[in-house]
Structures are given as structure tokens and as C-alpha cells.
Symmetry: C2
Subunit: 251 residues, 2 copies
């Protein structure tokens, strides 16, 4: 405009980054957590101080805090007591399960890939559960199977109990990280499995009978503390359930 | 205060729910996604309309949208074109990796549990990679190993290349869901592994030599298309790396 034409010709016009300021604030907070500088229970600087340190608006800091609170990463308490202010929270397992379920719903993974991931995780959980499940874990799993034997158990209820049975084994395995991943994947299968079984019409009855039989065999292997059997039975059961639901072998 | 004493005595004083309004809005949106009513690319109602339908303030809807945008679940575009408004985004893999990494950093899982999850995932990835890796995947993995042989490769760089090698195998395996989980777990180990190796002082040199040797053997098994060998070598390599880093066998 005022004689800078030659500079303007040299200027590099890079596209404006689409990342929003509050997302950059989120990145900074996460970096501190992953590097270990911020640990569970640590308090973050006040909004106005952090805004000044990062050179951003208070609104951007507030939005970042809200987004991280919604994910269970931060806890925001009002007031002036020792718990007031914004602290790092112990991200609940549920947050991971939620995101993984959303991820499976949105990412449109091929069902066969999800089933393969399920086999891998549940084999591992079954192995652990065979040696670590306590008597009350085993009793609770048995009650779920009894309920699945009831004549009033329709396929929606059957599917819920089936999910609970598999989740229960993952919990009994004692590796929280493996259990969290197993639960997320199994829960992401709840709806597609139910839809698949709804499509099977009356063929569902003999299928359900076979699934019940598989569950009893897995339960027995866990009671016997037989890790190899529990692992093998779990794999063949998941393969069978895929075959019945999708009318083809797992490729 | 004004003659309601008897009612007050009967009243149940439940604690005020801590869930914020915008978190309830997030729940509603996620329900629609998990149930399949909202799919990738679908447009959400305008802020003011959704606020009315849910009986909440526009600010609560806006905060929920921002939080979901930060997670990669929604995309918010301004303007009036066909892409304007708030649409459901294909949650990027990176969002899952990020959350899983945070989860591992915050949840304080025992390292042994994380290493066991890693073994499970990488065995599976190695199996797949042995049959599915393309020549350029194998060439790229080989380049990483060459770089790790260089005398200027210090332990931080070694650790980065090591991470890249394992991530590369997961990518080459072709099961995106398994790869995403593998990457997240391997990346969450980057810092603790580096810290462990820093603590080993000059003992690190023979350890690095052994790790290099393991990597070459795994790479060869992948080139040979030998899934069983790739799986076994991967497990023994991860166990050795735990033993060297933490000076004990994986319990």
C-alpha cells in the first residue's frame, strides 16, 4: 500500500493454521503430563497466569480447561479450600472406554479387524483370569450364565449379559490396561452383534444354544485354572460368534 | 423457614450432581454417534436449536461442541457454504493415541502390566506384518536399523528410532485398530524406557548391541514372511528390553 510492493512480492503466504488457540493450550498441558512435569493431583496455574505465560487470551485457557475437564484429564473446583482451582485428575478408565468406543463407531474399521483385535485381547484376558480370578469373580460369572439360560432372556438381554460375561473375565484378569481395552472393544461390538443376531430370525435359537455352551466351557476352564484351554476356547468362541453373526469365516 | 418443617424433615438431601450441563450435552451427542444415528459427515442442529431441544443454554451447547472438537469428534466450520456448521468428523487415529498415552501417563498402571499389553499387541502386529508388509515397508524398517548402527546415535536418538521401528511394524501389519493401540502403548513407553536406559550408565552399550541384534532378527523374520518367528522374536525382545531397563524379569 505504501511502497512495500517489493517486500510483498517476497512474502511467503503460508496458509493460516487451522488449529485454534485453545487447542494449542491443550497441547501444552498434555505435554507437561506426558513428560511427567504435571502429575495427578498437581495444581495448574490460575487461568489469568497461564494465559499470560502462554501469551493467549483467558478465554482460550478457559476453553482448553473445559475440554480437558470433559475428557477427565483436569478437575476444576471453585472456592478457596485446599482442593480449589484446577488440578490434574486421574483419568478414569471410563474415559478411555468412551473414546475407544467412539473411535470404533466413527473410524469405520472393518468388522473383521475389530474382531481380530477382540480375539487378541480376550485371549490375553482369559489367560490371566484362569490364574487370577477369585472365587467371587467366578461365582458372578456363573450367575450371568444362569441368567442367560432363562427362557425369558430375549436376544437384547442375552447380548447385554454376554457383554457382561466377557467384560467380567477381562476385569478378573487383573491387568487394568488390557481390561480397559477389552471392555472398550467388546462394548463397541454390542450394537453390531445385536443387529447381526436380529437379522438371523429363528436361526438365533440354535446359535444362542451354542454360545451358551461355549460360555460354560470357558467358565469351566477358568475354574480349573487351565490358561491354555481358556485361551483356546475364547478364540474359537469369538470366531464362532463372528461366523454366526456375519455368516462367514473370519478372513 | 415458613412452616414447612415437616416436609423438610422428610426431604432427601441428595448430594448435588457434579456433572456439568455441557457434559450432559456431550453425552447426548456421543449416544447418537454410538447408536449410529449420527455418522461421519452428518451435520448437527444449530447451537440455538439444539439448546432448545435439550432444554439447556446455548453456552452449554457451545462448550460441549468445543470439547468434542478438541477430541476430534466434531468439526466446526464458519460461513454459509455446504461445509459450514458443525459436522461429525472421522475421529483421527491420533486422538486415540493421544488419549491412550495420557491414560498410561496418568493412570499409573504398573510398568509390568503395560509391558504385557505391549507384548500382546506387538506379537499380533508382528504376525500380521510378516504376511502383509510391502517391500517399501521393509526397506523403511531397514533404514531405521541402519541409522541405529551409526556411532553418532546417542541413546535419545536410539530410543526415537526404536519407537519408530516398532510403530512401523504395527503400521505394516494392516490392522488399523491394533496399530493404533500398539502405537499408543509404545509411545507411552518412550519416556520411561529412555529414563531407564539413562540410569544404566555405560552398561547401555552392550544392551544397545543386543537390542540392535534383536531388531535385525525380527526384520529378517518379516522379510522371510515367517509369522511364528516374528511373533516369538518380538516377545523375547520386549522381555529382554524390560529386563535390561528394569533389571528384573517380567513378573
Amino acid at each position: 500500500m505504501t511502497g512495500f510492493e517489493s517486500d510483498a512480492a517476497d512474502a511467503e503466504w503460508r496458509p493460516v493454521a487451522r488449529t485454534r488457540t485453545y487447542e494449542l493450550v491443550i497441547d501444552r498441558v498434555e505435554e507437561q503430563i506426558v513428560s511427567g512435569s504435571l502429575e495427578v493431583g498437581d495444581r495448574l496455574p490460575a487461568e489469568r497466569d497461564l494465559a499470560k505465560m502462554l501469551g493467549v487470551s483467558r478465554a482460550a485457557v478457559r476453553e482448553a480447561f473445559r475440554a480437558l475437564e470433559a475428557q477427565g484429564v483436569l478437575r476444576m473446583n471453585v472456592g478457596t479450600g485446599p482442593d480449589s482451582g484446577t488440578t490434574v485428575a486421574a483419568l478414569p478408565s471410563e474415559a478411555l472406554t468412551r473414546l475407544l468406543r467412539l473411535h470404533v463407531a466413527l473410524a469405520n474399521f472393518p468388522v473383521a479387524d475389530v474382531v481380530r483385535a477382540r480375539i487378541m485381547l480376550e485371549r490375553e484376558s482369559a489367560r490371566h483370569a484362569a490364574t487370577r480370578a477369585r472365587p467371587d469373580d467366578l461365582a458372578r460369572l456363573g450367575e450371568l450364565l444362569d441368567e442367560m439360560d432363562s427362557p425369558d432372556c430375549d436376544r437384547a438381554r442375552f447380548n447385554d449379559l454376554d457383554t457382561e460375561f466377557h467384560v467380567g473375565i477381562a476385569e478378573a484378569g487383573g491387568n487394568r490396561l488390557v481390561a480397559d481395552m477389552t471392555i472398550a472393544i467388546r462394548e463397541s461390538m454390542r450394537r453390531p452383534l445385536l443387529a447381526a443376531f436380529d437379522d438371523r430370525g429363528d436361526d438365533w435359537y440354535p446359535i444362542a444354544e451354542e454360545l451358551r455352551h461355549d460360555h460354560r466351557a470357558i467358565h469351566q476352564a477358568l475354574r480349573d485354572g487351565d490358561a491354555d484351554a481358556a485361551e483356546k476356547l475364547t478364540e474359537s468362541h469369538i470366531r464362532a460368534s463372528y461366523r454366526h453373526g456375519w455368516a462367514q469365516e473370519l478372513p
